[in-house]
């Protein structure tokens, strides 16, 4: 750029030079001041806004864990069902469905477990329900009991012949 102007040649007195430099850089100090104010404002805002539980276990809001853990439960779990329905448990635990949870067929029933009188479980249609597992499909394991449901029962409901809680052919008839 242009040659250095005469005004900045060092004068005999160093404080005069200093003053001149300070005078001519004043605007830069103003800019720096604006940045500094902005930075401080950012730090203040940050200290106010970062959630308090953040960072307790890691780079996240620790309270999120407790919030998620507090979500409502919809499936009671078979132990809860078995607490009351001991008669069904007796039948089921002797048959091939002993490993099938109650709510696997009956759907989510935590609401019923909490207040049995107020919430009545829906009646199930075995034609749809049983076919979900037992309708034959090439991809199912070969040793898994599967039939072509419409042919197998000629359209009759599965619980016409099978007791759903313990479904061998010869054990009783549907409820």
């Amino acid at each position: 750029m242009a040659a250095e102007p005469a005004s900045i040649r060092p004068s005999r007195f160093w404080w005069n030079t200093g003053m001149k430099i300070l005078q001519d850089t004043g605007h830069l100090f103003r800019v720096a001041a604006v940045f500094l104010v902005g930075f401080v404002a950012f730090l203040v805002l940050r200290s106010l806004l970062v959630p308090r539980s953040f960072g307790r276990y890691g780079h996240y809001r620790a309270n999120a864990i407790t919030e998620i853990a507090a979500l409502p439960v919809h499936y009671a779990g078979h132990q809860v069902c078995e607490g009351c329905h001991t008669d069904v448990l007796d039948v089921k635990s002797k048959g091939v469905h002993k490993g099938v949870a109650c709510e696997s067929c009956h759907g989510p029933l935590a609401a019923h477990a909490d207040d049995p009188a107020a919430v009545t479980p829906a009646k199930l249609d075995t034609r749809i329900l049983c076919a979900r597992c037992h309708q034959e499909n090439l991809a199912k394991p070969k040793d898994f009991p599967q039939v072509n449901a419409p042919e197998h029962s000629s359209g009759a409901a599965c619980n016409t012949c099978h007791q759903p809680h313990s479904p061998a052919m010869n054990v009783g008839v549907a409820q």
Binding site: A2, S7, H27, R30, V31, V50, F54, G55
Partner: protein, 394 residues
């Protein structure tokens, strides 16, 4: 919301996550980085020939940078929470850098450099204009009216230093976007160490092209002669940068074809079918090969000023379209195929929706409106305007 799927896709993959707005964002920051690099050619590398584009390049960078966060905000599920990136940035995430890199580049580099370069003009304008314009200029002076030769000399040195810091800052501003894609190991179309480099060079290409175009268009609008030495030099840099960019992309392509890893068949099929138009036709043929050939022609053949001007305008436009297509092919292309490599989905772009085509068009036009306002506020060609006002004020 039935999205047509061919083959098999994981059930949650069918709907695209990142829309055309996320295509637009790297395009915009690319223009910013490229325009700034062009400006730095003069400032730091002393390429005097491109001086007429210096101020225009800076204003262009600023205009686009101001629009850059908008597609991101419109895309977020919760834009009101975006400030969380400033509160608790997750340092392992490239995206978390955005807030700070953006702020740094905007304030500590671009705004500061523009202010320092224009300070003399701002002080003069603060004394010669009236009304609300005078108020704006007075605020911009930050209260200091010292425009002595020494002060201006200091400004010039400071500006040089800022530009020097600004070059890696510009690389960071756009390079991190390339890294956002390049570091996703789950996506083989994106995952590559070349990604940030390819993004950067295509950014430089687009930035240089846009400034070249704007310079020619604005001069034509102002009925001023175009400095041919300037545009010839700019076009020369565009050509060389293009060669590098094209080489990098070809390297990526050849490497993929040769290694043919598990993703190759799926990606290859995608490029030849779903991305055929945008990738082969628009990005490669129209957007890269054609401009390179045209610009190469101007480098080897003796052409008239008019012929060169026409080639520059055509190449510039094709370049911008091609680089946009490149962003499209990366972002949208990366989401069209299944991570199981067994299927493809379709991008259903809305029109007047939050992330639709209309929004994208508005966001593309908006930077030019900002640029118009900036050019009015801080004229890049002060020689006649400001000096005339100064003369009339005395």
């Amino acid at each position: 919301m039935q999205i047509p799927v061919e083959g098999f896709m994981y059930p949650n993959e069918v709907e695209l996550q990142w829309s055309v707005l996320i295509v637009l964002y790297p395009f915009i920051t690319g223009l910013v980085a490229g325009a700034f690099i062009l400006a730095s050619l003069e400032r730091v590398f002393q390429v005097q020939a491109v001086k007429p584009t210096y101020r225009l390049a800076l204003l262009t960078a600023l205009a686009f940078l101001l629009v850059a966060p908008m597609p991101l905000q419109l895309h977020l599920g919760h834009p009101e929470r975006s400030f969380e990136m400033y509160l608790t940035p997750h340092v392992s995430s490239a995206m978390a850098m955005f807030g700070f890199v953006y702020l740094w580049y905007l304030l500590a580099v671009l705004v500061l450099e523009i202010w320092l370069d224009y300070r003399h003009d701002i002080v003069v304008l603060s004394q010669t204009t009236t009304g609300w314009r005078r108020l704006i200029y007075r605020m911009l002076t930050l209260g200091s009216t010292n425009v002595s030769p020494h002060a201006l000399h200091i400004d010039e040195r400071a500006g040089w230093l800022i530009t020097l810091i600004g070059i890696p800052s510009a690389f960071l501003l756009h390079g991190y976007v390339g890294f956002i894609f390049g570091s996703v190991k789950a996506n083989p179309w994106w995952s590559s160490p070349l990604m940030p480099v390819v993004f950067l060079f295509s950014a430089m290409v687009s930035g240089i092209a846009v400034v070249m175009l704007l310079y020619m268009v604005l001069n034509w609008m102002r009925r001023e002669p175009i400095d041919m030495r300037c545009v010839d030099t700019v076009a020369k840099y565009l050509f060389y940068t293009f060669i590098i960019d094209f080489s990098l992309e070809m390297l990526d392509l050849i490497h993929r074809i040769y290694e043919a890893d598990e993703s190759f068949r799926s990606l290859d099929f995608m490029v030849h079918t779903k991305l055929y138009f945008s990738h082969i036709v628009v990005q490669i043929l129209l957007g890269t090969v054609t401009p390179i050939v045209l610009l190469g022609l101007t480098q080897v053949a003796k052409l008239t000023d008019l012929a060169r001007k026409r080639i520059y305008v055509l190449s510039g436009c094709l370049t911008l379209i091609g680089i946009f297509a490149m962003r499209w092919n990366v972002v949208i292309g990366g989401q069209l195929f299944s991570k199981s490599f067994l299927g493809y989905t379709t991008y259903k772009m809305g029109f007047a929706t939050r992330e639709g085509l209309l929004t994208a068009i508005v966001l593309t036009i908006l930077p030019f409106m900002f640029l118009w306002a900036l050019v009015k506020l801080l004229p890049p060609w002060p020689e006649k305007a400001v000096l005339a006002e100064a003369a009339s004020a005395q």
